[in-house]
């Protein structure tokens, strides 16, 4: 092999703590290296052109670039060497930025380490072979998990582009958190007026199949050809018959059931249509409240239903569907704020969450939009908002900012004044975070026009005094302690990853962070991709965000899926396992460990052997580590290639 080595300075990112020229000089002595140089920015256009030129001039048959992490620019450089006529796998990277220059300042040690990493890369490259992708057909259908605003946006965009969309929503209706909101900031326009028509579009779009009250049970397969199993949970109502007339909900005797949609701010029946604009507008029985299921005696709804849709014996149904791409848009949930004993830990009925307050403000809410406090139904005169409840608080392991609370608190203060012109709002805050178009102006308006009193400081105690609540906190700007008498306390509870998010991530084989938020492919450059090909992210499941950002991500994820599925055939990654039939003894150990069932038995001249199903193999290499005689080798990560790297370190 004729190898060229390029040591990138990355401006001063690498050259600041690595003597790049020295590394290049040392590399010139490595096996098969015929050309070695250092370069200012290897990834820049002139940098890439220099590589291409060197390939031609020095008849290079392999290239090593020592620069940043291969997770960043490997594809870039592979394309570059390809442009020069080399196979893209005759290329290796040495990571001398993230793994060297950025983690230490010792120039001598860094330079030495960089040279060793280059020697490892050279040693491996000498054993690289040309690999060529195979092509396989794709299923032009996309699965959207979650029917909140991000999922709805992704589904509609993909459907409009002609893709079939399967939407799975855990709740009986789509709409997500946004459907529960009264108004939205900073325009203070009606949430359901914006979202409602989009929800109807989902229901009516010919390309969209909606599975509400359903969950993803299992995902197998790979990009372009996922096999998804969906569990449609029993609602005890046959939705093909239910017309959504609501007669059952009127006649249901269990009128005191917990109202999930209204966050417990009101009561509802045990057979319920979540809210008037629900999509699908179908009734379902909440078994834990239903008299028939609790006492065995009732059955009113079945008797009353004009279409005979009620079926108490209904079971969960399992549906399988093949899709080419997946968008995860599972949103968020509120953190459990009752860990805050100082706010009453849930014991005071007039300390409520911001989302509960949205329901009290909403015209479609349990109070018809009249703000009444839960304890006695009185209109509150003094409303205290406490921000950062479960955000930016290491003591409850929620160090991150939820991002949207400052804005919705301002909105709620405005709405409070609109509803109750004589009321006074107080907002305890840490910082006002309002970067967004028209956002900061909005937070000013609430203070200047609506006269909400903003107090910079945390609340140390909420305690009852008569029928009021006393809110004690610090005013850090004044340097004093303050106590505010409140009729109602609204907690701006922060968000956290949706319940069960890590579990879904495991099914999708995507990463998630310590808080359960899904990991994007790259924080800057791949915000909606994941490291699993064909799986994309939209909305708050990736990290908390407000409605416009969620909608933007929904569209972005849709664009990615549309791009992916616009092709009839996909390229398979050739870094897959290959069987050397001459060495295979057909013992089948690889078959039993393959996580993808990508290896099958076969026969050659009457002897048992195995073969790899190339489009199914994902290239993990478990088989390779299992085969005692090394008859199955993971291309690009063969035993010899890894051993060469080890030897490159150990022999010297």
């Amino acid at each position: 092999m004729r190898i060229g080595v390029f040591i990138c300075h990355c401006g001063s990112n690498i050259a600041g703590t690595v003597d790049c020229a020295s590394v290049a000089e040392q590399a010139a002595a490595f096996p098969d290296v015929v050309f070695s140089t250092d370069t200012l920015y290897a990834c820049s256009e002139p940098g890439q052109d220099a590589i291409i030129e060197a390939i031609k001039e020095h008849r290079l048959t392999g290239v090593v670039v020592a620069s940043c992490t291969p997770r960043m620019h490997e594809p870039t450089f592979r394309r570059a060497v390809e442009r020069a006529g080399l196979n893209r796998y005759l290329f290796e990277m040495a990571n001398i930025r993230e793994h060297v220059s950025w983690i230490g300042k010792d120039m001598q040690a860094n330079t030495n380490k960089s040279a060793e990493l280059v020697r490892m890369a050279v040693a491996k490259l000498r054993l690289n072979t040309e690999l060529k992708p195979k092509f396989f057909p794709v299923t032009k259908r996309v699965l959207v998990i979650g029917g909140g605003v991000a999922g709805i946006q992704a589904a509609l965009d993909a459907a409009d582009a002609g893709l079939e969309v399967v939407m799975v929503e855990r709740e009986p209706s789509i709409g997500g958190k946004m459907a529960k909101l009264d108004k939205t900031f900073p325009t203070v326009d009606c949430s359901s007026c914006i979202l409602g028509p989009r929800m109807v579009d989902v229901a009516q779009h010919p390309n969209i199949t909606l599975h509400a009250a359903s969950e993803v049970e299992a995902v197998s397969g790979y990009v372009g050809n996922f096999e998804v199993t969906i569990r449609k949970k029993s609602t005890c109502v046959d939705w093909s018959k239910c017309t959504g007339c609501g007669l059952c909900t009127e006649k249901c005797p269990a009128k005191k059931s917990y109202d999930r949609f209204n966050e417990g701010m009101g009561h509802t029946s045990a057979i319920v249509i979540p809210f008037p604009q629900a999509i699908p507008k179908k009734a379902g029985i909440e078994k834990e409240h239903c008299r028939l299921f609790r006492t065995g005696k009732c059955g009113v709804c079945a008797k009353i239903c004009p279409t005979g849709a009620v079926d108490y014996a209904m079971r969960d149904q399992i549906v399988s569907v093949k899709v080419g791409g997946i968008v995860a848009a599972t949103g968020y949930d509120l953190m459990d704020w009752t860990v805050y004993e100082e706010y009453g830990g849930g014991r005071y009925p007039d300390v409520i969450t911001s989302l509960q307050y949205e329901r009290l403000l909403s015209a479609s809410g349990p109070t018809g939009g009249h703000v009444k406090r839960p304890s006695d139904g009185r209109e509150p005169q003094s409303v205290v908002f406490i921000q950062c409840v479960g955000s930016r608080d290491c003591s409850v392991d929620r160090p991150y900012c939820s991002g949207f609370c400052c804005m919705y608190t301002a909105k709620q203060a405005i709405l409070t004044k609109d509803h109750l012109p004589d009321s006074q709002s107080y907002v305890f805050y840490m910082d006002i975070r309002s970067p967004g178009k028209g956002y900061d102006e909005f937070t000013r308006r609430v203070q200047e026009e609506y006269r909400a009193r903003y107090i910079r400081g945390r609340v140390s105690l909420v305690y009852p005094k008569g029928d009021k609540l006393m809110v004690r906190g610090a005013d850090t700007l004044m340097g004093t302690q303050v106590e505010v008498e409140a009729d109602l306390v609204v907690l701006a509870v922060g968000g956290e990853a949706a319940r069960g998010a890590p579990h879904l991530a495991e099914k999708l084989r995507i990463s998630y962070d310590a808080y359960g938020f899904f990991m994007e492919g790259h924080p800057k450059l791949k915000p909606v991709e994941t490291n699993t090909a064909g799986v994309f992210l939209a909305g708050s499941c990736q990290g908390l965000k407000d409605i416009p950002s969620s909608v933007a991500q929904g569209s972005a994820a849709a664009a990615k899926v549309i791009g992916l599925l616009s092709r009839d055939m996909l390229e398979s990654d050739p870094q897959i396992a290959q069987v050397n039939a001459g060495r295979c003894i057909g013992c089948g150990k690889c078959i039993s460990v393959c996580p993808f069932k990508a290896i099958q038995e076969t026969e050659a001249r009457g002897l048992p052997k195995v073969e790899v199903i190339e489009t199914v193999c994902q290239g993990c290499g478990v088989c390779n580590a299992t085969c005692p005689q090394g008859a199955i080798q993971l291309s690009h990560f063969t035993d010899n290639q890894i051993l060469a790297e080890v030897e490159a370190l150990c022999r010297f």
Partner: protein, 153 residues
């Protein structure tokens, strides 16, 4: 060229591409300062790591070997680290039987988001190896001495 005499020991890391290599990158992006001994071999999955790679390294010149993969249940390939966990745990038992200090090999799980944790792992393991000092090596065949050469004068 070799490890820096008197300063570094030979430590080899086998990292899965999706989690731990990413975690090491994250540590780099965060400029989390680490000792310079470690050299990383990137593999797609901890399940790809044949325990014999570890033994090979320890027998042929490494003073310490560190393996890191995705946390169990988070494997990019669903199951690779489950196999790895068993195999790595079992191979550990070979070290005392060979007269190699078992502390020269450790495996752990670091996700792509855990830059701080990666820094901690590298610091702790490097310190552990420095506490143990250079490893004794079984002699290689004298006829292979030439393999230590990097170039003729």
């Amino acid at each position: 060229m070799s490890v820096l005499k008197g300063q570094e020991l030979r430590i080899i890391g086998f990292l899965c591409n999706w989690c731990s290599y990413g975690g090491a990158d994250t540590a780099g992006i965060g400029r989390f300062v680490q000792p310079t001994d470690l050299r990383v071999v990137r593999v797609p999955c901890s399940g790809r790591i044949n325990p014999l790679f570890i033994m090979k390294a320890l027998l042929y010149g490494a003073d310490g070997v560190l393996v890191s993969g995705c946390h169990p249940r988070d494997c990019h390939y669903a199951e690779g680290n489950f196999y790895a966990r068993r195999r790595l745990e079992v191979i550990k038992a070979l070290l005392p039987a060979l007269g190699i200090d078992p502390r020269r090999f450790e495996y752990t799980w670091v996700s792509a988001s855990e830059g701080r944790r990666w820094q901690h792992v590298v610091e702790s393991f490097t310190m552990q190896i420095h506490d143990l000092g250079p490893a004794r090596r079984l002699p290689d065949a004298p006829e292979l001495d030439v393999l230590k050469m990097v170039a003729a004068e």
